[in-house]
Amino acid sequence: MIALPFVIDATLGRAWVRIIDVALLFVMLALGLNIVVGYAGLLDLGYIAFFAVGAYCYALLASPQFGIHASFLVLLPLGAMVAAVFGVILGAPTLKLRGDYLAIVTLGFGEIIRIFLNNLNRPVNITNGPQGITLIDPLQAAGFSLSKTYTYGGFVIAPVHLYYFVFLACALLTIFISQRLENSRIGRAWVAIREDELAASAMGINTRNVKLLAFAMGATFGGVAGGLFASFQGFISPESFTLLDSVMVLCMVVLGGMGNVRGVVLGAILLTALPEALRYIGPLQQQWLGRVFIDPSDLRMLLFGLALVLMMLFRPAGLWPSKTRRRELLINATEKAGG
């Protein structure tokens, strides 16, 4: 794992190291959404909004936009907290609603956040509107910056490598927290709510608070990932936080296996790497068919849509389903077979 970025750098090129960095970020995001969708069974279609909140939180306070350059040690927890607050603000009025209403409201919430980010450059310029925020500080502490290239005796460590280690650490931490949560009292409460809310509340679970906690927890992960994203890219704009990005994260969770940490990690890595691989389709079309029929990014979306439909029809529990899910499906199948 530690040698991975250097091996890939030497074989596939530096662009792929960058892709792996992004994949690790998406692992964090997908695991955050997994808490909300996979554990608690609340379909959130505006999850990218929390990512955006975290990213803007970091960007506004660590860039020339306001001339503030706070440390990431302050900003990442702050981003996480603000995102969690947003999660509660969104959750509080909507959690009484049944699943499909919740989906629409979260979708609307995601769009509202984006519209505000896009328009909050007037009358006071806060977010710099559609142009986004540039020159965001990298992660740096005590003179050590992740945006510099370090050389130790001919061994070059570029920023992408450094970010790899940071993201890897964060992703591993997220995986650890997710797994611990899954088997905790709260995790079991989430699953109980997902399976049968009425029964769960009869068992003495305060469903509203526990659901709010799921929202806040998921949002926290999103917020941290957002802050890391902003520092990694050095530039953010509302363009990066559209509905399609929400859907993509959702795809990762659904495809990988809702509620199963390993599945979600697999989904996140697959769905980040796959579009990059699809990039080669464009030149291939050119070569074989004479011209580019399908733009690779469109093809990606078509495949996403198709994958969502087909997964739900044929493998509703995902590529790597969690044990409980698999057991449930098995029971359902035998019940059906038994008549």
Partner: protein
């Protein structure tokens, strides 16, 4: 020109289109309890098909013929699409957990959007002006004849639908299925066919709404179904989802709210919340309705619905 009256007229006009789209959501929801996410995109396909027909024929035929052909083509394509979606994506999941059909619906929506992007491209498609619309003066406000036509047609369709659901045999079957599919089945209603018919009916009304949208804005785009669908859904919720007259009322109200808010909020707040926030108002309405009266204006309060 009276600006207030003008905003009211614009709102009603826009609202009548929202109402037509909202009918598609509300009918399907009433029967299946499913939010047909792809409905907005079916409307988009209708709009783009109509755009293709109108731009291909241009002024070579009389205007009413062109419009009629465009609408007919849109209806055929949308009904086929609606039936295929129902058959392939929703029917197999009728007894699956709630989350499954919803995720499928999102997938279908993306599929339709990007297939449309393949067919029509991603640029804005502007409609050639086939007829110079006349202006109608209305107590100090102005609307074009096209707009007046859209409004009248929308109202006629809504009236026809109300009559159909109330009086026809199929309408009765639809209401029976809505109340209780199992019992309706026992009473000899072919519920599978009724559900397919409901999708087809929603899609054809959506197709007509799509033609209206393309005439109203004078342009089409592969992503236009998303916002339109969301607003129409909001309208359906506002009126009480599952309730057909409610969807009509909700659509008109939402059109009015949006038009007035976009028109006046900018002035009230000194240009801070101008018309660039117009899409936000629908969501605010949605959240408020869901918080305060989840069963909607005309819906019957039921614990399950919200």
């Amino acid at each position: 020109m009276d600006i207030f009256l003008q905003q009211i007229l614009n709102g009603l006009l826009l609202g009548s289109i929202y109402a037509l789209v909202a009918l598609g959501y509300t009918m399907v929801y009433g029967i299946l309890g499913l939010i047909n996410f792809a409905h907005g995109d079916i409307v988009m396909v209708g709009a783009l098909v109509a755009w293709s027909v109108i731009s291909a024929l241009g002024a070579s035929l009389p205007v009413p013929t062109v419009l009629l052909l465009a609408t007919a083509a849109a209806i055929v394509v949308c009904v086929v699409l609606g039936l295929v979606v129902e058959r392939a994506a929703y029917r197999p999941l009728r007894h699956a957990p709630r989350l499954a059909p919803l995720i499928t619906a999102i997938g279908v929506s993306i599929l339709i959007q990007y297939s449309a992007a393949l067919v029509w491209g991603k640029q804005y498609l502007s409609l050639p002006e086939i007829v110079k619309p006349g202006q109608i003066e209305f107590g100090g406000a102005q609307i074009t004849t096209t707009q007046a036509f859209i409004f009248v047609l929308a109202c006629a369709i809504m009236a026809a639908l109300l009559w159909f659901v109330k009086a026809s045999r199929m309408g009765r079957a639809m209401r029976a299925t809505e109340q209780n599919p199992d019992v309706a089945g026992l009473m000899g209603v072919n519920t599978t066919r009724v559900i397919a018919f409901t999708f087809a009916l929603g899609a054809s009304i959506g197709a007509i709404a799509g033609v209206m949208v393309v005439l109203y804005y004078g342009q089409g785009h592969y992503f236009m179904g998303f916002m339109l669908g969301l607003k129409a859904f909001t309208a359906a919720v506002l009126g009480g989802i599952g309730n057909i007259p409610g969807a009509m009322l909700g659509g008109l109200l939402l059109g009015l709210i949006e038009s007035l808010a976009a028109g006046y909020m900018g002035d009230i707040t000194g240009g801070v919340f101008g018309s660039n926030y117009r899409d936000v108002y629908a969501f605010i309405v949605l959240v408020l309705v869901l918080m305060l009266r989840p069963s909607g204006l005309m819906g019957v309060g039921s614990g399950d619905r919200a």
